[in-house]
């Protein structure tokens, strides 16, 4: 699958009508990726409760195809919900590395965006983007579930703009 997907766009581009195939494939792949985002159940602090609320009865993230998985190997999305401390930071990096590509990160709440109310603490990492790359930042302390849903929709928009030309090894060959 890897080589096929990685190099196909560049082979196809040279054929007449190849561009149409690429855009159709883009549309299909992005549509399926954006609508089956499986997050890792990873709650750090207060924000975790709003994340769980968003998954539960009233807000029901299931309708966006967001269904929590307990292991990083089955997840494509990680909500960093809460304060990231210096002791936890290496574990977060490890979890992120264990996830398969493509993977996305939503930083949820002030603490994981910038350190928030604990910015001046000796034990807190000042922003999760110092450890792993972040796709969407959701503001609030803690953000309301509606806010998190907005963040997920923003991420879906972002995924839908992606193209297979940006995939894996293709980037290196280009």
């Amino acid at each position: 699958m890897g080589i096929l997907l990685d190099e196909a766009p560049y082979i196809l581009e040279n054929f007449p009508g190849g561009g149409i195939v690429i855009t159709s494939a883009d549309w299909f792949i992005n549509w399926s990726r954006a609508n089956s985002l499986w997050p890792l159940t990873f709650g750090l602090a207060c924000c975790a409760f709003e994340m769980i609320s968003a998954n539960m009865s009233k807000y029901d993230l299931d309708r966006f195809g967001v269904f929590p998985r307990p292991t990083p190997r089955q997840a494509d999305l990680i909500f960093v919900a809460g304060t990231l401390t210096k002791k936890m930071a290496p574990r977060l990096k490890k979890l992120y590395d264990q996830m398969g590509e493509p993977k996305y990160v939503i930083s949820m709440g002030s603490c994981s965006n910038t350190g928030g109310p604990f910015y001046d603490s000796y034990a807190v990492v000042k922003g999760v983007d110092k450890v792993i790359p972040v796709d969407v930042y959701v503001a609030g302390c803690p953000p309301r579930p509606e806010n998190l849903i907005e963040g997920i929709k923003k991420l879906q928009e972002k995924i839908k703009k992606d193209t297979i030309k940006n995939n894996g090894r293709a980037k290196i060959f280009k």
């Binding site: 409760f49 574990r91 034990a123 803690p142």
Partner: protein, 373 residues
């Protein structure tokens, strides 16, 4: 750190299982190092500190009012109770008289938060034992309670409702009716809970007789709250060392005898009913009046120290506050019930099966924000 070369009684090598810090059932970022002989635990070692945010140190560089805002994040499930203990400690230093209505509003909010905590406990404990439906039920009721909080103070989780000398704002129009409806609704839903979980044979098989804590252990480890009362010790700070205006309310202190996971679960369910009783009484007793005593804008308590203890849903929540006469506290120390209740874990986990670890940990009901601070 545990050496993973421990031998079992037949001389075979044991297995070292690392549970957490990322685990759906450790209620946050607790790490348990388990040494296993087959399925039996020989040694369990909790490793905490993954959420250590240095709050007690930060408190020294913040004003007293800002510390109430920060206390929301100690135990983020019971923010109102944390507000309560912080406000009480500062008021003890200052020596202010709190208006009657403010006292009632405080108790109303603290008890509502107790209901929310116990609903969450119900959901998470049942989910730990494999019943996802209970959590969905629990969150349905929790949202109703959070709507009440939201209408009063505008926040769902971190309320910052208490002020030194009272509370920040009065109840909105129609709150009393809505809260009354919530109590009624909750009573009927509790029947559903009992039908769904309490009487469930599988649930009872997983929890009855598991993780027994004896009376002696409770005293030796100074456990508190529902964990203590489940082992047969009738002690509730709201009754026995009363604070605020709790003495005006009529409520029972439920006690269970066995001290196993099921009794700890039952304690929460019984306490939930008592909390609803108190809420109902507050709603009747509320009278119009002041909600904030006259306190200076910049709070500078006289030098001295104060120790205040309260009954939070998790146990005895106490705050030790030292003032040196400036606008910031000299020292703030929290006696966190989750942290102290967690200490028994190492003892009761020895000799149980792996599957029961989750049940025992869930039944103690910890919040890592409070354990690590």
């Amino acid at each position: 750190m545990t050496e993973n070369t421990l031998k079992d009684k037949d001389g075979f090598e044991t297995m070292y299982l690392n549970m957490g810090p990322q685990h759906p059932s450790t209620h946050g970022v607790l790490r348990l190092g388990l040494v296993l002989d087959g399925e039996v635990i020989i040694k369990a070692e909790p490793d905490i500190g993954y959420l250590h945010r240095g709050m007690e140190k930060l408190a020294e560089s913040r004003t007293y009012q800002a510390n109430i805002a920060m206390s929301d994040r100690f135990d983020y499930v019971t923010s109102m109770n944390n507000n309560f203990v912080t406000a009480l400690a500062v008021e003890k230093l200052l020596g202010v008289e709190i208006p009657k209505r403010a006292q009632y509003l405080r108790i109303l909010m603290a008890e509502l938060n107790r209901v929310v905590n116990h609903i969450l406990f119900f959901g998470f404990f049942a989910m730990d034992l494999g019943a996802t439906t209970a959590l969905i039920f629990g969150f349905r009721e929790r949202e109703e309670a959070l709507e009440l909080f939201e209408s009063v103070c505008g926040a769902r989780l971190t309320y910052n409702y208490f002020r030194v000398g009272g509370v920040s704002r009065d109840l909105p129009a129609g709150f009393i009716e809505k809260a009354g409806n919530f109590v009624k609704m909750m009573r009927s839903r509790l029947k559903d809970y009992d039908d769904l979980v309490t009487g469930n044979v599988i649930f009872q098989d997983r929890s009855v007789g598991i993780g027994r804590i004896s009376k002696e252990d409770v005293l030796a480890y100074s456990l508190s709250g529902p964990v203590m009362r489940a082992s047969g010790i009738k002690y509730d700070i709201r009754k026995d060392d009363t604070y605020s205006v709790y003495r005006e309310f009529d409520f029972e202190v439920p006690v269970r005898e066995n001290g196993d996971c099921f009794d700890r679960y039952m304690m929460r369910m019984l306490e939930l009913r008592e909390a609803l009783k108190i809420i109902e009484q507050v709603l009747i007793k509320l009278e119009p009046g002041e909600i904030l005593a006259k306190v200076p804008k910049i709070i500078k308590p006289p030098a001295g120290e104060a120790y205040v203890r309260t009954e939070s849903p998790k146990g005895e929540l106490a705050l030790y506050l030292v003032s040196d006469g400036t606008a910031n506290p000299y020292r703030l120390h929290l006696r966190a019930p989750s942290f102290i209740n967690l200490q028994i874990l190492q003892k009761i986990l020895t000799g149980v099966k792996v599957a029961d670890v989750i049940a025992i940990l869930g039944s103690i009901d910890i919040t890592l924000g409070e354990v690590d601070r």
